[in-house]
């Protein structure tokens, strides 16, 4: 236990230099990009003296090095600062939007696993058959499809042609989140408040965007599961099980798949970062009010502190998920020692 705790602490401490490098890169890239945030904020007609006054107020008249040191100092005090464009703390829109993105990401990951793992296991069990080929083709194709296009096609098919699902937003236009919003995770909030009509509405809105994310990433898990399963299906204990007359389905799905899941778990942590990257396009396509859309909009506005703040949160989230996955790995496989 001590060893594991030490490992967890070391991983957490290693996050600090990682964040430092990432933020430094983002800090300097944002400031060398063309586009003046003060003019973007004040507009083209603002008098020069007003522009200059605003620049001083925001500290943008100071040398870049000084701005950088001040920003790092602020971060060391766990302060993400104030938005340059809107009079709000950076943490405020992040707090409002992060649950939307996490909710989408978690459900998206669930669909990824739901599509990817069973298909990969089935494909491995039917190796070199037409079904195996079909599933491998599916895996390659969905991974290549741009998530934006996938989203539009699902909207068209399920939203318009079939009329089964809504095409945008977290709730319908006639459902008011202010009635049930507590944590920002609408699925949880509607359950907590007992608002089951709204729960149904929230779940139907969540389906299409999360399936979009899920399908696109499932391709990776199809291939990974299949590869792992093929190895495991050659193992002695599987052969022994067959020799003893155990049903093939039980061998594949109860015995082999369990062991194949371990590397998949690791991949989940890595793919979470990709999920967040794809969230930018998914949130735009589905008008999902999450962090990725916030990031995009604030990049256009040159709102440096908010962009940096969002990236910090994304980096922390990916690190946390990655650490959790590694710890779960140790839970599942007693052979794993850190």
């Amino acid at each position: 236990m001590k060893r594991l705790l030490r490992y967890a602490v070391i991983r957490i401490l290693l996050t600090i230099p990682m964040l430092f490098i990432l933020l430094s890169l983002v800090f300097f890239v944002l400031r060398v990009m063309p586009g003046d945030p003060v003019k973007a904020m004040l507009g083209a007609h603002a008098p020069p003296e007003v522009i200059e006054q605003k620049r001083q107020e925001l500290g943008l008249d100071k040398p870049m090095g000084v701005q950088y040191v001040e920003y790092i100092g602020q971060l060391a005090r766990f302060d993400l600062g104030d938005s340059m464009i809107y009079k709000q703390r950076v943490i405020q829109p992040i707090r409002e939007k992060l649950p939307a993105t996490l909710e989408l990401a978690v459900v998206g990951m669930l669909f990824t696993l739901l599509f990817g793992i069973p298909l990969g296991a089935f494909s491995a069990s039917k190796r070199r058959s037409a079904r195996d080929l079909g599933i491998r083709l599916y895996g390659n194709v969905v991974y290549c499809i741009p998530v934006y296009w996938m989203g539009l096609m699902l909207q068209l098919i399920f939203g318009i042609w079939l009329g089964w699902l809504p095409v945008a937003g977290r709730t319908g236009g006639r459902v008011f989140p202010s009635l049930f919003e507590r944590t920002g995770f609408y699925v949880i909030d509607t359950i907590i408040t007992g608002n089951y009509a709204a729960l149904g509405n929230v779940l139907t809105h969540l389906l299409l965007p999360s399936i979009t994310l899920g399908i696109v990433l499932s391709g990776v898990f199809v291939r990974l599961t299949r590869a792992n399963m093929l190895d495991i299906l050659k193992s002695d204990y599987i052969i022994a099980g067959r020799a003893r007359g155990l049903p093939e389905r039980k061998l594949v799905y109860s015995h082999a798949l369990k062991n194949a899941l371990i590397p998949i778990l690791t991949m989940m942590g890595l793919q979470f970062a990709l999920l967040l990257a794809n969230a930018v396009l998914t949130e735009t396509t589905f008008s999902w009010p999450g962090m990725a859309r916030l990031l995009l909009e604030r990049i256009y506005l040159r709102d440096y502190p908010t962009v940096q703040g969002v990236i910090v949160i994304f980096a922390l989230t990916v690190s946390l998920i990655s650490l959790m996955v590694d710890l779960i790995y140790a839970l599942i496989d007693p052979r794993v020692k850190y």
């Binding site: 063309p34 586009g35 083209a44 007609h45 809107y86 809504p166 920002g184 009509a197 735009t284 859309r293």
Partner: protein, 529 residues
Amino acid sequence: MKKALLILLLVFLAVGMLFVGCKPKEEAAEAAPAEEVQDTLVYATTDKISDMDPANAYDFHTWELFRNINVGLLRYKPGTTELIPGLASEYSANDAGDEFTFKLREGLKFSDGTPFNAEAVKWSIERVMNIAGDPSWLVTDFVDSVEAVDEYTVRFNLQGPVGFFPALVATVPYFPVNPEIFPADRWINDPSELEGGQISGMGPYKVVSFKRDEEVILEANTEFYGNAPAINRIVIRYYADATTMRLALENNEVDLVYKDLNPSDKVDLIANDAYNNYEIASSYIRYLCFETSESYFKDKRLRQAVAAMIDRQPLIDKVFLGQMEPLYSMVPKGMSWHTDDFKTELGDGNIELAESLLEEAGYSADNPFEFELWYTPSHYGDTEVDMAEVLREQMEKSDLLDVTVKSAEWSTYIDNWDTKTMPSFLLGWYPDYMDPDNYTAAFAGTSGSAGMGIYFSDPDWDALFKKEQTSVDQNVRAEVFKEIQMAWTDEVPTAPIFQGKLYIFTQPNVKGVVVGTDMVLHYDTLYFE
């Protein structure tokens, strides 16, 4: 060990939830509207709100919102350009035209019950002047001081005679704001920054919920002096993507869509009888600007040549599927004293004229005139890149022209005006006030032109602008604008391309859509059949 791990994981999850999810109690306790109501219209748009403050808001959609939650001393009769009494029941001007006195309606209140009077008007105008936000020039360029003559009479003392001052008073920076809740020395972005956390106005609606880039919920304002709107609640939903917005309409998730759909989506929806569609002849214009002070476009022959090569109708057909109207003057059709001088003087796709001008300037097929054409990819919608490419194709029909198309995001684009990086660039214009002055002086007057990256300066033109701005005689103004429009075809600081048509699409049971050339959607005229 496993227990310890589980505890560790649970701690991580709990910390994560706490950080992300817990809202301060006062937020969760905000007043909530009734759950599902019949009397609610969902209005979808891809536009965005900028600042919820008349002192700095300077974009079309935010102004539209303000025109529905607040009122000016004067306002436009819905669907027309006729000015009618607003918060003021009447007004008068002195003979010199530099003093305007407004008599306010008595007994009016802001939506939170704060009484409205002349002091509130004076305070609001002085606030705009002090804060010096983006649209403040609409006040500071014309107003010298404001007096509260008595409780319900306010007087504007102008810097000089202004023939179109009533039109200025109807603009959003002149809208009175509640002095009890707005800060005097800075503009606000969100209603949450105000005292009490809610914005109050005197329009037919009031804002009850505001979530930037997600939704704004409006309810009928019981303190409004006019007739109560037929629809009690308006929910404005903000979409990131025009195609998704179209799908939302087709999926009956929204009742009304305005600004802006892709041209192909508009064509499909117009052809579909399942939806009402309204075509609005708008006063929105698109044009090509030239940096006239330092770039190669210092030479007006080159500006004339490029302008002559623009072929408007084919561009409109190709990029906008015929949904716009060719424009031959910076003053749009439907506005007073509009002429089509660019058509008669320079024409469309006029290769002959363009090449004769270019040859005169020393260019040839072996030595073509090379220039950069800039556009901004997202500010004017997804069609911008196509528009720039079609223009390039049109220009390069002449062997004497070689065009390089470049782009920059909006914040960089306006930055480039100062650095004079863009020799020619595409822009669009929604009017601040319904007068030809707003379409001309802003681009070709010395100070306005510099602010737009054009840097055109001609004392004769400045004198003409001064003449029309200070004259209350409409015949004098008519003559000046005729002269300016003709002169524009010679100097070509900008080349007009087209005038916009806007479309509103609604579910079949939505009626009462009233939009004039000011393009403002009036929510209080809407009703369900």
